[in-house]
């Protein structure tokens, strides 16, 4: 053999590797490219947290020192945001949880002039989590009394605070029966048995473990794609007067754990609320409501798919055809993780079909919170997705170590002590967010043009709010251990809104659907403000009317089955709609 050919083989190897890694580097820098110039959209979002009095940086949850190797990861989730009118003045306020142990939550009261002021201490919610870290905040009217009570999951056990109706809350955890112990990022409410009272679903991530004082270290997932060793999903029935009890049989819901979001919505147009559980390290779970308090496990319909890191369950009628679709965020971080976000839509024939790729909303980094809302009031719901996992030292990343453990045998992976120290390493940090504008047949990412281009936060919860009651939906973004962001929407356009009050149904009207009929289309929304990830949005229903501001009629379908027609509605305002006391069943 001549020497030249021998060196040629080595040269080929060097050339392939050199060119390959250089190309990959170029690809990575392209993903982090600076934004294009702003302008040209039907709306403009301006970051105005500090100017609006929402300047706040929540802490991070810190586990026990024996878990220092995983501290950044275990402290990477916890912050949540909830939009609520806690004082019943008709103006939307903002609650933000503080995941730091013994931290202080914020309850920003709306001052009706575009600014907010913290009222958490006077309301009695600043230290609601005690010495634990506050996590998922969920406001709802547990007694149908016209007051928003607070269920707050923590790093230890959930707490429940009843709203006194005078702007203050009192701790009724013990009495309520909602002292749910476990690390829960996911919770939602629905009236599953149709008794007019809101029941509660809490889904844990980890199996029961006290991260502040662990006695068992085998609480990490035992598989990257098929883990079943997480915490339980528990359904609590509302017995009335603010008292809850676990439901016998748990509605047949199987607990595998690692749930990150509980989505509630009528997915099939039956008038009943179905449940979607976005699940990490496994496929998601779907339970279809068959009525009479019976649920059918339909998880196999969304099982055979590539992506296995369900984070958020945001649900809306995206294309105004009257049928809802579930947007589930996932991890898209090539070349390490190739999962994509999905949009599951119930199809005739009893199947869920994923349309995210066709609509151009499948990829948005390591995605977390997502929110459908009509930003430009054109009658089409746009989609905002926040992302980014852990932004620490930009020159160190944890992908190698993460991959090492992700591919280890279950008995190795589940022991937290086996995980390599994360230190100051980053993991999918500093990612560009996505603002997908709904073009009718496809979405276009216009983040660069809407004032959201510079945001590289570790985003978690996204909540929509009309803080000025003027029909422009703004967004609050909760970021883990980083400043809260408030994207004020200065857009305009024609709109109409509804504040529903149930009488026979639950007073918050969770599960009620409103259809607004215009000249050539019908818009549909359901009262489900607590979908998404670690967020609760404005509980009123908002409809952009586009170029057809004439409303022919609106039809409300209440959870009780009552159908109510509204005519002569004026655009440009919120309409208070109360459920008729006399039943007129439409089902």
């Amino acid at each position: 053999m001549k020497p030249a050919p021998r060196y040629a083989a080595l040269a080929v190897a060097a050339a392939v590797l050199g060119l390959g890694f250089w190309t990959r580097g170029r690809l990575a820098s392209r993903h982090g490219a600076p934004p294009a110039a702003a302008g040209g959209q039907g709306f403009r979002l301006t970051e105005a947290a500090s100017a609006s009095g929402l300047g706040y940086t929540p802490g991070r949850f810190a586990p026990h020192p024996s878990l220092a190797n995983l501290a950044p990861r275990l402290g990477s989730l916890g912050v949540s945001v909830a939009v609520v009118d806690f004082d019943g003045d008709g103006w939307q306020d903002v609650f933000v949880s503080d995941p730091a142990r013994g931290g202080r939550n914020r309850l920003f009261r709306n001052r009706r002039d575009g600014t907010f002021v913290d009222a958490a201490a006077s309301a009695g919610l600043a230290t609601a989590a005690g010495e634990a870290g506050a996590m998922r905040a969920l406001f709802f009217d547990s007694r149908n009394a016209g007051r928003q009570d607070l269920l707050l999951t923590t790093s230890s056990c959930a707490v429940f605070f009843a709203n006194r109706g005078d702007g203050t809350f009192r701790d009724e955890t013990a009495r309520s029966g909602l002292r749910h112990c476990g690390v829960s990022y996911a919770a939602n409410v629905l009236d599953f048995d149709g008794d007019g009272r809101l029941d509660v679903v809490i889904a844990d991530y980890f199996k029961p473990v006290d991260l502040a004082r662990p006695s068992d270290y085998e609480f990490m997932p035992d598989s990257a794609v098929a883990a079943r060793n997480g915490g339980p999903i528990v359904v609590y029935r509302n017995m009335g007067d603010g008292v809850f009890r676990p439901v016998a049989g748990n509605l047949g819901i199987v607990s595998r754990g690692w749930t990150l979001a509980v989505g509630a919505y009528d997915l099939r147009g039956t008038g009943r609320t179905d449940l979607y559980f976005a699940t990490d390290f496994n496929s998601d779970q779907v339970y279809l409501n068959e009525g009479g308090g019976r649920f059918r496990n339909a998880s196999r319909l969304v099982e055979d798919k590539y992506s296995r890191n369900g984070m958020s369950a945001e649900i809306a009628d995206v294309d105004n055809d009257g049928r809802a679709a579930v947007y589930v965020t996932n991890i898209h971080a090539p070349p390490y993780a190739l999962g994509t976000n999905m949009l599951w839509k119930w199809m005739p024939g009893g199947l869920f079909a994923d349309a995210a790729g066709d609509l151009g909303i499948a990829e948005c980094g390591w995605s977390w919170g997502a929110k459908f809302l009509d930003l430009d009031n054109d009658g089409l719901q746009d989609l905002v997705v926040t992302n980014g996992y852990i932004s620490a030292d930009p020159n160190k990343d944890y992908w190698f170590e993460s991959g090492l453990m992700g591919s280890a045998a279950g008995r190795v992976m589940r022991d937290a002590r086996n995980w390599p120290p994360m230190g100051r390493a980053s993991l999918a940090g500093r990612q560009k967010k996505c603002v997908f504008r709904n073009e009718g047949w496809r979405f276009t990412d216009v983040a660069d043009k809407t004032g959201w281009a510079d945001d590289r936060s570790d985003g978690r919860g996204l909540a929509a709010i009309d803080h000025l009651n003027n029909g422009s939906l703004s967004l609050v973004e909760a970021n883990e251990g980083q400043p809260l962001r408030f994207y004020r929407n200065d857009g305009g356009g024609s709109w109409v809104g509804f504040k529903l009050v149930g009488r026979r149904s639950n007073r918050d009207a969770f599960g009620a659907r409103v259809q607004v009929r215009l000249k050539d289309k019908t818009l549909s929304r359901e009262v489900q403000p607590a979908n998404g990830f670690m967020a609760q949005s404005d509980g009123r229903l908002h409809f952009g009317l586009g170029r057809e501001p004439e409303i022919l009629e609106a039809v409300v379908r209440w959870p009780s089955g009552t159908e109510q027609r509204l005519e002569g509605l004026a655009p440009g305002r919120y309409h208070l709609v109360e459920e008729p006391e006399d039943p007129a069943p439409a089902r």
Partner: protein
Amino acid sequence: MKSFARRLLGRVPPVVHYPTLADPRFISVTLLSGLALYALLTPAFGRHPAQLAASVLAWVAADALLLILYQKVLLVPLSALVPSLAAFVLVDSPHVWPYAAVGAAAILSKHFLRIDGRHVFNPLNFGLVTGLLFLGDSVAFGIARFGDSPWLFAWTVSLGALVTWRSGRLDIALSYAATFLAGAAVRSFLSGGRFLTAASPATNIVFYMYAFHMMTDPKTTPDTRSRRIVFGALVGLVDAVLRWNGVVNAPLYALFVVLGLLPFFRKGEAALPGSFVWRLRSAPLPGAR
């Protein structure tokens, strides 16, 4: 069919090479078919039959076509079928086309990156490395998809070890494994981490697929035992260095680098046909005079 084959084969004596039943690649086909079936039937794998079809067709068709065009022979395509099944299991992608692309790249390297009549790079390794480097938006290494099934583990290790032993390449796998474990011990000592953590790749089935089906390919490894042991140890050493530097998918790149040195390992070894050949039986092309 006869005239078409003759036109392709031209004046070269028309022969078809059949594998004998003693050919160890039949064991590989059995092993990998089992894994491919498992991948198809396990939802957590996220695989689709179209991806299997794309992989097998790309490998087999490209190999058969290039063999006919450039070597004027017909082969029962075991050499392409085996890595096509492995690629289906190891390539992780939500799309179908990357399975064909990886196969095409691999077969092109097999036929065009040759020295002294032998290909240098292991086609499966070449396909995976180029796929990961150049198609990184769509191709990942599917190492996290395997579960904890002890039956699957036993299936992979036992049949893998058998085929490697029958191919006379078990020394490479053992040499690599020993070096890998030594590297894991050194890394855990230097970093203060647990040995179990550093050695955890050995708890994954893919470690054994790699050791028994990629780095021990008789066509792309030295023929003498001492050189094979050095070859395996060198792959383990480069692997350890890459892991120390946090390179994801280190074993694939380690083998790729060391295969770049393969011609140096082969220096002085007997040229074909003295070196390894699969156990084939030749026969006239059916219908040939």
